[in-house]
């Protein structure tokens, strides 16, 4: 009697410890908790995530082929065995697709968190929404795992479709925020370099032909900066209106505009490099 009590107490305690240590952190692990805070860990973590993502994409493609084959097989045979195989193949493909999406969200989250020069309010809002979608896709994975027949699988297919429609604009907004911030940093850095070149000219005055060269270089750089400002104005015009959702076509336009900004900045950097040697 006494031994039984002791054993039951130990089992209960062990279960509680396992629940606290084992299940809770995994179940409640948002990308924010799983990913590092330290800037030095950014590159290795990103490499790790990209490798995982790449493997998951490959696995997904493999099971997708099996799913396509099972669909064709069922259409031909129309037997219960073929249906059973189709259900299993569909379930597996849906789970692999979910894995790919969860890793993709993790990569976006990591990139966004370590990108500077993003409005903190926008950044926090995007991070929070990415966390929500991360959880939603994980829940979806659990529901798919528990689905046994084709009706349940099709039900999950419906909820996934809704989820992905809502997620795509968020992923686009995140990418725009990241790319814009990178171009902004390059822009700010170029202005710091411009100031350093100007200071250098003031501290080391020259005369004659070299002074004319310097003046010409400065004028060229000023002109390039002016063109850059025009490009920024064009970019700002592309901003999302209230309640407008980011679409792929909008993203293509934004990407084109960011490319123009990048090219213009490359020209400015070339001018600055030349000017710093005069």
């Amino acid at each position: 009697m006494f031994r039984r009590k002791i054993i039951s107490i130990i089992i209960i305690c062990a279960l509680v410890i396992w629940a606290l240590v084992g299940i809770s952190p995994v179940a409640a692990q948002t990308p924010g908790q799983a990913l590092p805070n330290d800037l030095t860990e950014y590159a290795p973590t990103k490499a790790q995530l990209l490798s995982l993502y790449s493997n998951q994409v490959q696995s997904y493609q493999t099971v997708y082929r099996r799913y396509s084959l099972a669909t064709v097989q069922y259409d031909k045979l129309l037997t219960l065995t073929a249906l059973g195989e189709l259900v299993n193949a569909t379930k597996e493909t849906m789970l692999k697709r979910g894995d790919v999406l969860v890793s993709y969200i993790d990569i976006l989250y990591l990139e966004l968190r370590f990108t500077q020069n993003i409005d903190p309010k926008i950044k926090q809002d995007l991070l929070r929404r990415l966390e929500d979608f991360h959880d939603a896709f994980l829940n979806q994975q659990v529901l798919i795992t528990n689905s046994q027949d084709y009706q349940a699988i099709n039900e999950r297919a419906g909820t996934f479709e809704k989820l992905i429609i809502d997620f795509e604009p968020i992923s686009i907004e995140t990418k725009v925020a990241i790319n814009k911030a990178k171009i902004t940093v390059a822009d700010e850095t170029s202005r710091v370099f411009y100031q350093q070149v100007s200071d250098y000219y003031q501290q080391n005055p020259v005369s004659g032909f070299q002074a004319v060269e310097r003046q010409r270089a400065k004028e060229e750089i000023d002109k390039a900066f002016s063109q850059l400002s025009d490009l920024w104005t064009e970019f700002d015009k592309l901003g999302l209106k209230e309640k407008q959702k980011a679409s792929q076509s909008w993203y293509s336009q934004v990407l084109k505009s960011l490319n123009s900004l990048q090219n213009q900045l490359l020209i400015i950097y070339s001018y600055l490099e030349e000017a710093s040697r005069l």
Partner: protein, 133 residues
């Protein structure tokens, strides 16, 4: 005479055995007392051991639980370093001239693959389902 002798012999035997019986009785009583004492003290010892095991397990569970809860509440703020014109250690020991710094930043900007879009949305089938006619 025989009867008297026999009686006397028996008396002698009786007189000899009595002290022996007395001793064994005393020892038995002592043994009984010892057993009774041990019966009283042993469960108490066992209870104490069980109690401390229980306290230890409960304590362990509480400690782990509290540390997990505290860990989940610790804010995880992103790094606040400003990347604008912060030369890396390699830059400091290599060519530190302004033109070299500009050249390096230009290379970094050139490597920025916006058009290739390394963060492209995964190529997945969004409509995986079972079609049954």
């Amino acid at each position: 005479m025989n009867l008297i002798q026999s009686r006397n012999q028996n008396q002698t035997v009786f007189n000899q055995e009595v002290p022996v019986l007395d001793n064994s009785l005393e020892e038995s009583e002592q043994e009984i007392r010892r057993i009774e004492k041990s019966k009283i003290t042993e469960p108490a010892k066992k209870r104490t051991w069980r109690f401390w095991l229980f306290v230890f397990m409960i304590g362990l569970v509480l400690l782990i639980g509290i540390s997990v809860i505290i860990a989940s509440f610790i804010p995880q703020s992103p790094p606040t370093t400003n990347p604008v014109v912060q030369p890396t250690p390699t830059e400091q020991y290599e060519d530190n001239s302004l033109s070299a710094q500009i050249k390096q930043k230009r290379e970094e900007l050139r490597r920025l693959e916006l058009s290739q879009d390394s963060l492209a949305f995964p190529q997945i089938d969004k409509k995986i389902e079972i079609k049954i006619d």
